[in-house]
């Protein structure tokens, strides 16, 4: 049953530097139930608490045409009830047992999670296993919840110019792939979703073989195995798993630009995203080279952006860069800046273009690499303080076609990245034809 049983490697790095101090044993254990459900156990014995999560390999990008938002609507509806636990009993029971619960939906996966005292783990497993197959919905429960989701959309997106622009950037980035539609769905489509739409999505995707169980906290792998076999083991797959085939995104041929003027914006802002491969399509070393590139360009106060835009030229009040390839089909590399009062978006963009061109043409330095690598290593140690975040890292990896081995090899692979790897990443990723630039402007252009 045990595929991996070793320390999380970042801890080795720290211990190497501190000498043999108190070792933190995080023995990550993974195994599969007979019905195909994957299980990951991450022990953390500091407090008598467990985080229990079930991830489904199904998200907004798996929705049928015209049904934008149904994955997320279903996530809300999963709290409505089964014949055994009807009328919203799920959250009430978790709460009555002193637990917290919540859920989230992305393009590629939907996850449900509870945090409870360790002796309540069997209870939340029973509840979660029950709603994997026995959800019951009526129009009386679906319609008010659909209205809630519309309010959620107004709150996150329609009331917020930055939210609206973000949605348009993704739409412009993808010509064919479903990542171009928002996870929460378009208002016009969400408002027409039905009980049947939700049940169809449920029937297609909510199966044990399509699910990942993650338990982090004060448990042993043996305890989890016994409980998982008891509660999730008996669930049968009702239909063969569908292969996740999404419309392929054609090679991008032209850079795109989205400009939004909105009276509600308080100041101009600028951002750009570049399309990249997904992590599962990249050797981890190349993926880490891109992360280091983002760190060097805009990840700290020592970065190229901060030193030039914020410090030397006083063009931007805020600036930064990021890289995220933890999706199934594509990732993105992003840069952004907020101009100082009195500085135009054009001035900032010109300077950013110059910095990026310089990085692509002349590359980064060994000193930049060493510093950024050390920052990333330190961040990994801080991460160990959070049971939830650790659990999420493994969940995201498995739900986006990566492996626990990728996570466990993270620091070894990071150590092998060279300046040339980063320079190659810069030349590849900073391709304007694969980019969308977004500009948000207040209504009256004061500049």
């Amino acid at each position: 049953m045990i595929l991996f049983k070793r320390l999380v490697p970042v801890v080795f790095a720290v211990l190497a530097a501190t000498g043999p101090a108190s070792a933190l044993d995080i023995d990550v254990t993974t195994f599969k139930l007979e019905n195909g459900m994957e299980v990951v156990v991450i022990p953390d014995h500091r407090a008598p608490v467990v985080t229990h999560m079930v991830w489904y390999r199904a998200g907004a990008a798996d929705e049928a045409q015209g049904k934008a938002g149904v994955a997320h609507l279903l996530e809300h509806l999963m709290f409505k009830g089964t014949s055994k636990y009807p009328n919203g009993a799920f959250s009430r029971i978790v709460r009555a047992n002193g637990g917290n619960d919540n859920a989230f939906t992305t393009q590629d996966y939907t996850a449900y999670h509870q945090k409870v005292m360790k002796d309540r783990l069997p209870l939340v497993m029973e509840l979660e296993a029950d709603r994997m197959q026995n959800l019951e919905l009526t129009d009386e429960t679906v319609l008010p919840e659909r209205a809630v989701v519309l309010e959620e959309r107004r709150q996150r997106t329609d009331n917020e110019p930055a939210g609206l622009l973000h949605e348009q950037l993704d739409a412009a980035m993808y010509n064919a792939h479903p990542y171009g539609k928002p996870v929460i769905g378009w208002m016009s489509q969400v408002s027409k979703l039905t009980r049947q739409d939700a049940m169809d999505f449920y029937a297609q995707h909510y199966e044990p073989a399509n699910a990942i169980l993650i338990v982090a906290g004060d448990v042993t792998p043996e305890e989890v195995k016994t409980l998982a076999e008891r509660y999730y083991g008996p669930l049968k797959n009702k239909r063969p798993l569908l292969e996740r085939v999404r419309a392929e995104e054609p090679t991008p041929n032209a850079e795109r630009r989205v400009t939004m003027q909105d009276a509600r914006a308080s100041a101009p802002s600028w951002q750009r995203q570049y399309l990249t491969p997904a992590a599962r399509h990249l050797p981890q070393r190349e993926e880490l080279a891109m992360s280091l590139l983002a760190e060097i360009i805009g990840g700290s106060n020592q970065s190229r952006f901060y030193q030039t835009l914020n410090l030397d030229k006083k063009l931007a009040a805020y600036s930064g860069a990021w890289f995220d390839a933890d999706q199934l089909d594509h990732g993105s590399f992003g840069v952004y800046a907020a101009p100082n009062p009195g500085v135009t978006v054009e001035q900032v963009e010109t300077e950013i273009d110059a910095i990026l061109a310089d990085v692509a043409a002349r590359g980064v330095t060994q000193e930049e690499l060493d510093r950024s690598r050390s920052n990333m290593n330190a961040s990994a140690v801080y991460l160990l303080d959070s049971q939830d975040k650790l659990a999420r890292i493994f969940g995201v990896a498995l739900a986006t076609g990566q492996t626990t081995q990728d996570v466990l090899n993270w620091d070894e692979d990071l150590a092998t990245v060279t300046v040339e790897d980063i320079n190659k990443a810069a030349r590849t990723v900073l391709d304007r034809k694969a980019s969308v630039t977004g500009v948000l402007l207040p209504e009256e252009k004061s500049q």
Binding site: M117, V148, N159, N310, K314, D385, S386
Partner: protein
Amino acid sequence: MELMNRLPMSFRALVLFAGLFFASATGASAFTIQEVTSPGGIKAWLVEEHAIPLLAMNYSFRGGTERDPAGKEGVSEFLTGMMDEGAGEMLSAEFQKKRDELAFRMSFDAGPDFFEGGFQTLTRNRDAATDLLKTVVTAPRFDVEPLERVRQQYLLNVKETEQDPQSMAWQVWMEDILPGDPYSRRDGGTEATIAAITADDLHAAHRRIFNRDTLQVSVVGDITAKELGPLLDKLFGGLPETAAEQPELPQAKPVMGPMVKVIDRDIPQSVIVFGTEGIKRDDPDFIPAFVMSEILGSGGLTSLLSEEIREKRGLTYGVSYGLSPMGRVGLYAGSLQTKNESAGEALDVAREVIRRYVEEGPSQQDLDDAKTFLTGSYALRFSSNAAIANQLLGIQQQNLGIDYVEKRNSLVGAVTLDQVKDQAKRLLHPDRLIVTVVGKPQGVK
């Protein structure tokens, strides 16, 4: 895309103080709090946790944004932005380079009553990192270049806050309920006050805030009591013994409604803030009142307000209504967002739910469920070093005693139905709410 009830409480005070209670622990805590007194007489609460080579420290001084001098509103927040811009002999760039090399985390936050610091370091860099932090705490620099640079950031922040519908609704609500009180000023200042802040103002604010007299510290992580003492002296021993003399601020006097104010904004969804006077943390009936308020309007989906407004009618993504105890006043405030067309309806339902709760109170079952949740979930809030440090500082600030973590669940467990009903009658005044709506609401009265 998270589901659920993480309501964006843009009103800082609510987050700060409500947090202590949503974030509390079970009697059967898995850790021991030691009170450490340094050789130099500085006290701290310590929880040793050697499983991870990290240390988390939270500390605070009394006197937050409410103490910003008139005309210098925003200076405390400005100070938070200047604390990593050079200290002692180190200019900004040199300081930041060293901080990044040592990979420690340092943050500052200016609340209405307390100015707080957060600090995390890897064990292997602890000595060097605390050397730097000591210099920051005792001798921050306010050089011209960083000051002007940071000023630009705060000018943008002010504009953003003034434009944001949630911030706007909370700001106006505060001005209506506490007119003229320092609590209802703009914490982050205005364009005019930010433009006027000088290095002297920042030095004065630093001198006003950083002193040993009102210092409170909690530390969690890979350090022993013996190691912590000298570290406390190093960090804080160089601070002045007492704060600069300043007059006591009077208790704040909330206005009672009814009052409804609409601020016209072209947005599809109205932001509604409502509430009345509440109670302070030192009120003898605070715990029963807190349990009463949780049943009615906690952030969760199972509160009475959420049940009627969200679950049954689909009128909002989230509604919450809770106590907000501050140093000189207690408030009782709530918020929800709903499409303009249903603003009046949502507010009417809220008033009706509150009215019924005053008349009938909760059922015994409601109370029992709330108590099991509140007691059972207390421990969940202590599951990381950073979370424990944060909890323990809050308990010190509220003067609840080092045994509070152990006592807290029995206090909640002892609350009776009669107490809850009494508190509902005492604190809820649905006909006298002060209401602020930002948007184009229909039917609001």
